[in-house]
């Protein structure tokens, strides 16, 4: 966990007071909606179909049990008893009242949580690997660098009015769990041949209306230079990024139009001209931030404790362990993913009661720490293997032991037309129906790793482009239709999926996905060949034929 200092606490509290005054002036009519809109957006407050939506940042996906309880309390006291974890390590509350928002913010500020820069044309929540600090083989904890960037960019005047929103993700593992290649800037932490820690810097990735995979702009930037280099990128973007057309304003468009080589030259030139502007990170600064992250006092535990051997006789436990429990860098410990995708439930939603229960379990079994991943699941990062059987039983009691992590029912979905004012079509009912169709765990395991991502509009909050199967809702003559792509992926081998054919109506989506999965099962050359690999080998044609031959 990262320990906030007095400066952080003062900043957050001042922000609450400021917003309380702004809300008061809005409700009295002193501020018009036109004047107030930017102020509310800077505090994560959107207007959606039914109500205001309040988006709260979970920096680099790390939460303490105390913080999760505060989120549960906000859900219970100011909303309808639940929240929605998003694809960018945020949580959204869907039914919040503007008049009560300052109180909700004040409650969150008590535990160091805020909603700054969760909206607007600024630097958004810097995201990271939900396994940061505990993943085996990781170079070092990427959250240290996320935090340095967070501190530098929070309320930074130069980055508060960018041409468009700006998102950074960081990973320090070979396997990318942070989807860095589909961010405005993606940072991959590694050690070079000299043993120095630095970053491969990617730029211009993104989804939405015009999807691009990020391109490497600099193969290695030393850690001490990362702030100045990121700032140089942002300065070039601020100068040349388009402000006349919202659809062409993201940095990915600028990179695409200039070409990565020219864009890189511009950034290098800016970097050189900046000179020493005090952004070179002293070793002591990095160590100061590092020292504020505390790690558990792990015990020396056996690799295979007796409790685990005994529980192995229970096939249901073994199924969950095989699916949701992952290796930890410390012997005797595990990382546990908590699926927020029970059959029939909205993906990524958790009730306040479930949040409280997970917070209690984190206190009991994970040194009080919880993580949030971009796949809309939670994670307990420090679970002793001997505690796994008890943890599993406790999770099962609150409906959070579904063993479907990375399987066909572990669906990423945006809120869609049920909530969102931008959406053209519903996402959640499609996800719910698919989880029912594939509810049989034996079938899901037979299918293997398969990520379905659903977005209710082209803005792609459900990351449909990079789903192994992507589903995009569109509107045609007042009816909901869905485009299907296959072969996308969001990891280190990130690529966009390929459209298989004309959009299909709402009622046929689940049937079509079943057809695609059946085709895969028939066509894969061995059980170990993953869906996404089969698509790569075969192309989309066999799947297209299966879907459209009879439609």
């Amino acid at each position: 966990m990262y320990a906030y200092d007095e400066l952080d606490r003062t900043l957050i509290n001042e922000r609450v007071s400021e917003f309380r005054d702004q809300v008061k002036r809005r409700l009295s009519g002193e501020l018009t909606e036109d004047e107030f809109k930017m102020l509310r957006l800077q505090n994560g407050v959107y207007l959606q179909l039914h109500a205001y939506m309040f988006r709260v940042a979970i920096p680099y996906g790390t939460l303490s049990s105390k913080q999760l309880r505060a989120l549960a309390r906000v859900g219970r006291r100011y909303d309808r008893g639940y929240g929605h974890f998003t694809t960018r390590q945020n949580i959204q509350f869907n039914w919040i009242k503007l008049a009560e928002l300052p109180d909700a913010l004040a409650d969150l500020a008590e535990v160091g949580i805020h909603a700054m820069q969760t909206s607007g044309n600024n630097m958004r929540n810097v995201t990271s690997d939900q396994w940061a600090g505990v993943a085996p083989g990781e170079v070092e904890d990427p959250r240290i660098w996320s935090e340095i960037l967070r501190q530098h960019t929070t309320l930074h005047p130069e980055f508060s009015f960018l041409p468009r929103k700006f998102k950074i993700a960081i990973t320090a593992s070979e396997h990318d769990r942070a989807a860095i290649k589909v961010h405005d800037i993606g940072l991959r932490l590694y050690k070079n041949a000299e043993g120095e820690t630095g970053f491969e810097v990617l730029v211009g990735g993104g989804l939405g209306r015009t999807p691009f995979i990020g391109k490497t702009i600099k193969p290695f930037v030393h850690g001490r230079d990362i702030l100045s280099y990121v700032e140089a990128i942002l300065r070039v973007y601020n100068q040349y990024g388009r402000r006349d057309n919202i659809y062409k304003a993201r940095i990915k468009i600028l990179v695409h139009e200039l070409g990565i080589e020219k864009f890189a030259r511009e950034v290098d030139e800016e970097w050189k001209q900046m000179g020493d502007v005090g952004l070179t990170l002293d070793h002591s600064v990095i160590e100061e931030v590092r020292s504020r992250f505390s790690y558990p006092a792990y015990e020396k535990l056996p690799h295979m404790p007796d409790e685990l051997k005994q529980a192995a006789h229970d096939p249901l436990f073994e199924r969950w362990r095989g699916n949701s429990v992952f290796p930890h860098k410390v012997q005797g410990y595990s990382i546990v993913t908590i699926s927020l995708k029970p059959v029939g439930a909205p993906p990524g939603d958790a009730t306040s009661d479930q949040m409280d229960a997970v917070a209690d379990l984190a206190d009991r079994y994970s040194f009080g720490e919880i993580r949030v991943g971009h796949e809309q699941n939670l994670c307990l990062p420090h679970v002793a293997k001997r505690d796994l059987p008890q943890l599993w039983k406790a999770l099962d009691r609150i409906g959070l032991a579904t063993p479907n992590v990375n399987l066909v029912t572990d669906i990423i979905a945006c809120p869609g037309l049920d909530y969102c004012s931008l959406a053209n079509a519903r996402s959640i009912p499609i996800a719910q129906e698919l989880t029912r169709r594939f509810a049989n765990h034996d079938t899901a395991e037979l299918i293997g790793r398969l990520h379905i991502n659903i977005s209710g509009c082209i803005n792609a909050c459900g990351h449909h482009h990079v789903g192994h199967i992507g589903i995009l809702g569109v509107e045609k003559n007042g009816e909901e239709f869905y485009q299907i792509t296959i072969g996308g992926r969001a990891d280190e081998g990130a690529q966009m999926g390929t459209l298989i054919g004309p959009a299909i109506p709402y009622a046929e989506v689940a049937d079509v996905i079943e057809d695609i999965v059946e085709a895969y099962l028939a066509l894969r050359d061995r059980p170990e060949e993953l869906f996404v690999d089969a698509v790569k080998r075969l192309g989309v044609e066999p799947f297209k034929e299966r879907v459209y031959a009879t439609r």
């Binding site: 018009t32 039914h50 309808r80 503007l98 439930a345 719910q432």
Partner: protein
């Protein structure tokens, strides 16, 4: 930002003006009595573009009470019952099409 009143208004059937209530965000409908109601059945119905423009103008003038007013289609059933004219308005009027809370496994 272009004011809704400056945008071209063209309606093709019976319509109403809807918005969200400023203090709590609740969905509201402009009434014929120049007020707001949370019930669609209270909505003032307009049938021409001029009527729609006038109703939207009144609604927009109430910047303190309502946020984001716009014109939306309705269906008029036999007996005068007002129904939402598209899926978006159906969801705003009737609520989510899904279970509100997560379902335990």
């Amino acid at each position: 930002m272009t004011s809704p009143l400056q945008q071209k208004i063209k309606i093709t059937g019976p319509s109403m003006v809807t918005a969200n209530r400023t203090w709590d965000g609740v969905v509201i409908y402009r009434t014929a009595q120049q007020g707001w109601s949370a019930n669609l059945s209270d909505a003032a119905i307009v049938r021409t573009s001029d009527e729609a423009r006038t109703l939207l103008g009144e609604a927009t003038a109430d910047d303190v009470g309502a946020i984001g007013p716009y014109i939306a289609p309705v269906e008029l059933k036999d007996g005068g019952e007002i129904k939402p004219g598209n899926l978006r308005e159906h969801i705003r009027s009737e609520g989510l099409t899904i279970d509100l809370l997560p379902v335990p496994a």
